[in-house]
Structure formats: C-alpha cells, structure tokens
Amino acid sequence: MAEHINLLLVDDENDFRQILAKRLTRRGMYVREADRGEKALQMMEEQPVDIVILDIKMPGLDGIECLQRIKANHDMTEVIMLTGHADVHGGVTGIKSGAFDYLTKPVELEHLIRKIKQAHHKIQRILAEKEEAAFKERIQQQMVVAERLVALGTMASGVAHEINNPLAVIQDSAGWLHQILEKPEMQNMPRIDDFKKGLNRINTAVKRAGKITQQLLQAVKTQTTEMVDPSTFVEVSLKKLTDEAITLVEPEASLKNIGITLESCEPHPIAWTDPLQLLQVLLNLLSNAIQATDAGGRVTMILAASLEEAKIIVKDTGCGISKENISRIFEPFFTTKEADQGTGMGLYVSWGIITGLGGLISVESEIDKGTTFTITLPVKK
C-alpha cells in the first residue's frame, strides 16, 4: 500500500511509541524510533526521513524546538505533531512553526495513517513541482544559448562573406608577385629570398583566414537550412562509425600514450543520419578530448540507445572546463587554445551539424577530473 514512506517516530513514552511503530510497520511503512528530540535530529542526519511524527511534550529538547530545527535543516521533511489531550495550544504553535498538522492523543490509527498519506502527497507534489521548474529552466537555458548562437552565426557569416573577397585579392596579389619572382630574369634580384619569405607568410595567413571563413559558413549553413538535406541520410551503425573515428585519431592519441576505449550497448545502436557530418563531429570531439588530456590519460566513448534516441558519449580524463568557459564553449571563435592551435570554430561547427541533424549536443565538466560530451540523435525519422 504505502509506497515506502520513511517515518521517524519521536516520543519519550516507550510503550506508546513501540506499539504505534509496530502497527505502522504492519501497514507497510518503514518506521524508525527515537525517544528524545536530540536523538531524532541525529538520526535524521544519518539517514533521510520523509515524515516525522513528533510528540510535543518531551524532556530535554521539546517538540516545538525540535520541529523548528527539523524545518531549518530538512525543508523537504514533513512533521506531524502529537499533543496531549488538553493541549490545543501546542498544536497550533506547531502548525505556525511549519508542522503539517497535529493530532491529539490518544491517537486513532486510521486517522494518523490518513494524515501520513496526506503529508506524503504534499512531499511528492513539491518534488514534482521542483523537477518541473528545473526542467523548464534547463530548456529555457538551452533556448537562450541556441538563440544567441544563431544570432552570432548570422553576424559572423555576414562578416565571413565580406572578408572572402578581399582575401581572394590579397592571395592573388601575393601569388602574382611570387610568380614574377620565379621568372628566370628575376633570379638575380637583390634580397629575393626575403621577398619570397614575406609572400609565403602572406599566403599562409590568407589560407588560415580562408579556412576560418569556410568553417564558419559551413556551420551557419548546417543550422539554417532547417534540417540537413535528408537525401544524405542513411542507416548508420554508430558502432562502425565510432570505430572509424577512433582509428583516425589513434595516431594522435598514441603520441600522448592515451588509450581510447569504446563501450557499446547490445544490439549496436543504429541512427538514421548523415554519416560524413556525424563523423566530422566525432573527430572534433575526440581530438579535443585528446588535446585536453595529459599523457597516459584515457578517453572513453559510450554508445547507448533507447527506442526514441541514440546517445554517443565522449568522455576524457583531461583538464576540464571552468564554469565561465563552459557556457561559451559552443560560441563561434571561442577558444582557450593558442592562436595558431585552434580557431574556436570546432565545437561551433559541431553544434551546428548536430542541431541540423535534429539532435542535441551537451557538455558537462569538472576541473582536473575531465569533460563529457553527449550527443543525442533521433533513432528514426
């Protein structure tokens, strides 16, 4: 009947308490007993309790004081007061101090059980409300992040478009000069090597800038064309794809002596998606994980599936991401790497791809413990 309600019965009258405990236990409740307020508080520290049944008149810490302390430390615990026959006043004081209700002794068992259940319902309702509020807040946060990323992306892609043209001009100007320097009649030009060196630098820098604009435009494209072109969707064995990704990054990992392990549920999950784009995301997450992890560390990939969705988890034992950084990690151009090590586009592109594939990507991290990225993909369309 009662769904595992944890009770704590507090009364200094041993006979009364023991009989009541026995009866409540017979009704399927978990009952523990305390003969003093101090002991009750101590027991609550050791193991949580749903409902306390508390006698008001006790030696030492009395019922009302005990109630106040319970409410101060365990806000989810409900308290039912027991008062002497003539002590209505005590009961009222109890309710004012946060008790769920009070009963006068002698207690009628059915009445008490009814009150316990009411109190239990109240707890469940509050828990459900809290969960709902937390869920709403999480969704809202994700929406705020998504909106900001889309806005940033729109602006950044506008900039990228405009920059591509001057980039092309710079590249071809440098290239033209280089072509001239290659001519036979130019070979005796003073300081020709310095000119070539400068031109090569221009060329490298332009290539880098071009790569950034292309990545940016790709990311914006994948998230704005509603969904990625579904004609590229096929049935993908996530196990196979993950194996492929691991094989590709293995050389990088073995340089740092980092082991990569794959744990997959059975049967291996299948997703209906674009394998190339998903592979790109996996490579990005894996290579990030390897870069963040010290030599000798470990990277774990986990595949899990339910009827509705498949999960790909990439976990590292690396340096972790700080609270300030984790909220910005999917933004374009956000990076903590050296200027020539990372463009800050990788995770932004990955986010764009996964969103475009109709999935979700999220991150959890603890400093010095490691970081976990979770990709959730729909199983069927």
Binding site: A160, H161, N164, N165, P166, L167, A168, V169, I170, Q171, D172, S173, G175, W176, Q179, I180, V206, G210, T213, Q214, L216, L217, Q218, K221
Partner: protein, 145 residues
C-alpha cells in the same frame, strides 16, 4: 609556361580581384579578358571567341547562375568554372546541373584553379575536334553522293 591561342574571361564585380587574378593568369601566358557583371560578359561573348569563363556566383544585378544559363543557351560549347564565395556549395551544385564544368571556393587556390582551367580547356578542345571530325565526315559523305 606555354602560350596558347585560347581566351579566358574573368567575370566578377570585385574589380581588384579580377585584375589580380588576371595578372596571374597572364603571367602564365594566358589571354585574359575581364568583365565586371553578367551583362558585360554576355555582350563580350558576342564580339569575341572565348574558350573558358571563370564566373563569380554572387554578383549584384544578374547573378552568376542567371548569367550561366544565358551563356549556355547562346554559347553551349563555352566551358564555365564557377567561383563561389559562399562556402555554400549549394549554388555550385545548381550551377553544375545547369552545365557548368566545375566550381571553386573563394579564395581559390591558384594551382587548383589552373588545373581546372586546363581540364576545361581540354574538354572544349576535344569537343571542337569531335565536331570538326563529324563535319569532315559529313562533307565526305556529301561529296560521294
């Protein structure tokens, strides 16, 4: 670098870009003609024999795709290489379905551009040769009648 008798047209609204790419191609011995919009491109085609056109997709007024359609309608043998600054390969794919030879992402690598240019020119040349052979065969047959 070899001299060729073939002509290449560059079409882009970005004048500096056309000029610099033109200089590079000329340095390689190419004959280069510039046009700064779709209309200018089409007008020039009426006056001049062109083999390969390097055409920017994004231009104000008549865009690259529209220009491409008109080129292909009036001069189907001219090969067109599309330049897209979009990063979106979408318009390039559309262009290739409309008959463009190939595409390049801006900023394009010059080596790659040269390679594609040569391939396009090669294809045009082969096509012309086939046409000449067919014409010769036709004349031969007519003379036998």
């Amino acid at each position: 670098m070899y001299k060729t008798s073939s002509y290449i047209m560059l079409v882009d609204d970005e004048k500096d870009f056309v000029e610099m790419l033109g200089l590079r191609l000329k340095e390689n011995g190419e004959n280069v003609i510039a046009a700064y919009n779709g209309k200018e491109c089409l007008d020039t085609l009426e006056k001049k024999q062109i083999d390969v056109i390097i055409l920017d997709v994004k231009m104000p007024g008549m865009d690259g795709i529209e220009t491409l359609q008109k080129i292909k309608a009036q001069h189907p043998l001219i090969e067109v290489i599309l330049l897209t600054g979009h990063g979106t390969i979408q318009s390039a794919v559309e262009g290739m379905k409309l008959g463009a030879f190939d595409f390049l992402l801006k900023p394009a690598d010059f080596q790659e551009l040269t390679k594609k240019l040569n391939k396009a020119r090669e294809r045009k040349k082969e096509q012309m040769e086939r046409i000449q052979k067919a014409e010769a065969a036709m004349l031969l047959r007519q003379s036998k009648l």
